[in-house]
């Protein structure tokens, strides 16, 4: 993330869209709404432009710093969350579907064998 502009009325950041998706950016700025109002625009060829404007008359130096720190941290954290969500959405659906499968109709079984190192098989 690069800082494009930093004045008392405006902060602008450039974020590479190959690294951070639109979803990740929106989830990050969601939590910053109490300290600034944000606009997100495409910034060709492959970036997003994040513009922050003060909710009050102007930004203080502390708030400007705070926004930059929170943006940097938020983007990384929400990217990690996004990766977890993407990788686990089907397992999560299985967990919930099985949890509420009152009649036991769902046939989802693990694709591996249960470890049985001492050869004890209770079904025999």
């Amino acid at each position: 993330m690069d800082v494009l502009a930093s004045t008392d009325e405006l902060l602008q950041f450039i974020v590479n869209e190959d690294i951070y998706s639109e979803t990740v950016i929106f989830k990050t700025i969601y939590w910053l709404a109490p300290i600034a109002s944000f606009d997100i625009l495409k910034f060709p060829p492959k970036s997003f432009l994040i513009t922050a404007r003060p909710n009050t008359a102007s930004f203080s130096e502390e708030i400007k710093k705070e926004i930059e720190i929170q943006l940097r941290k938020g983007l990384v954290d929400f990217k990690v969350r996004d990766l977890i969500n993407q990788e686990t959405s089907s397992v999560r659906s299985m967990i919930i579907a099985k949890a509420f499968d009152n009649d036991g109709f769902l046939d989802i079984e693990p694709q591996s064998q249960i470890s049985d190192p001492i050869g004890f098989d209770p079904t025999r």
């Binding site: 939590w31 977890i84 397992v91 999560r92 949890a99 098989d121």
Partner: protein
Amino acid sequence: MKNIISNTYSRKFRGISTFESEAESIYFLLPFKFHSISIDREVLVNEIGDYLIVPQGTAKAIVHREIDFSSNLYRDLVANFFISPTPVPELLNVISTRYRTKKKSLGSFTSLHIFVVTLRCNHSCHYCQVSRAAESKSEFDISYKDLDAGINHMFLSPSEELTVEFQGGEPLLAFDKVRYAVERIQLLNEDFKKEISYVICTNSTILNDEILLFCKNYNILISTSLDGPAFIHNANRFKSGRASYDLVIEGIDRTRQALGHDKVSALMTTTALSLKYPKEIIDNYVENGFGNIFLRPISPYGFALKNQKKNHYQTAEFLDFYKQGLEHILNLNAQGVFFKEDYTSIILQKILTPFTENYVDLQSPTGLVSSVIVFNYDGFVYASDESRMLAEIKDYTFQLGHVTQPYEELFLGDKAKQILNNGVAECLAGCSDCAFLTYCGADPVLHYATQNDMQGHRAFSIFCKKNMEIIRYLFEMLDIRKGYVESTFQSWIHKPAA
């Protein structure tokens, strides 16, 4: 499960490679979330509320497959369902069963039925959320017809366990209605055979022998209001004639003598005045023989909003009050006094056990309608106690209809569906990515009341601010003050208050 075991074979005499982890080159993520709890620590929480407190950056390292297979962390992550050596975890059924246990309240539907038997009251509390009526105005009592209809609805609930709570105003000013309702419910229950418990929420100032004998006969619990020492209680809860505090303490003593020590509980409300006196309030509860306290912020509803000077404060101020109070309570426990804080205990039960309390504010999907319902004195039905408080300032958003309407229209109608749809935290912006989701809730009424939107924006939410900081703080305590604090917390969730 049976198929899998029968497919296995003895490994008794197999080579060493057999016993090496099956996850030599890869592991698979299971759904989990994370939240920073201090500068250098974060907590990982999985789909069923199990947690691990780890150094900052661990979640990122897990996702980037940087966890050493021979490390204890790897084993902890597998054992606690954060990662799996197989694409679908071998114990998927266990995880699903645990998930179902966490959502147990969904299975029973409405259990808490609140009957507002009258709006009359003998107090003028400045934080009262409802517009109390004068003691003599009996037109503010519920009618027998509406009471009957509410009781009939209650027995249509699929829940095997029902709690009937009588509220007001001061419900004992309409004791005839309370008596009628209990006797009718007992009679009908000879056929329905449900587990029914009764609570009367009273200011305890007009309890008499007749009422107490009745409570004893039907095993009715008394829930009273006590805001702390006399100088706080009387300032909050004005009563003409004798001071409220003396009457309440007399009422508590009298009830304990008649019904037993554990049949009386007390609730406090934190006003702007209370904020300065957490220790004094807690000590007052201890002196009066209570084993627990619920440090409860004022509800931003109805008439409570009218007296801003006495009732308004920032969430941060409440959190300071809460933390000071919790610290004091932990000190009391260290001195051998068993005493617990109820909100903390509810959250801790969710964090430290596979179970969850049916506390409406911390339920997702919301407990409105599906756990609690209110039959108001005028026959209208509301999704919760807070919903009827909104109605007192002429906002009927959470009014489900009139008690004379059919059950399906009230409990399964469009209004109920709209409330439930807006009360699933798993689907709400902000909450859906939050590590504390399993311990938290949605609270559409509070968000509607404060943001004019049932879902609400979490970054502006007083509910979120309070819960996020309390839960973070508890994890920080569990991390840095393990030993004694954790064992005290464990005792709170396993031992009932005195």
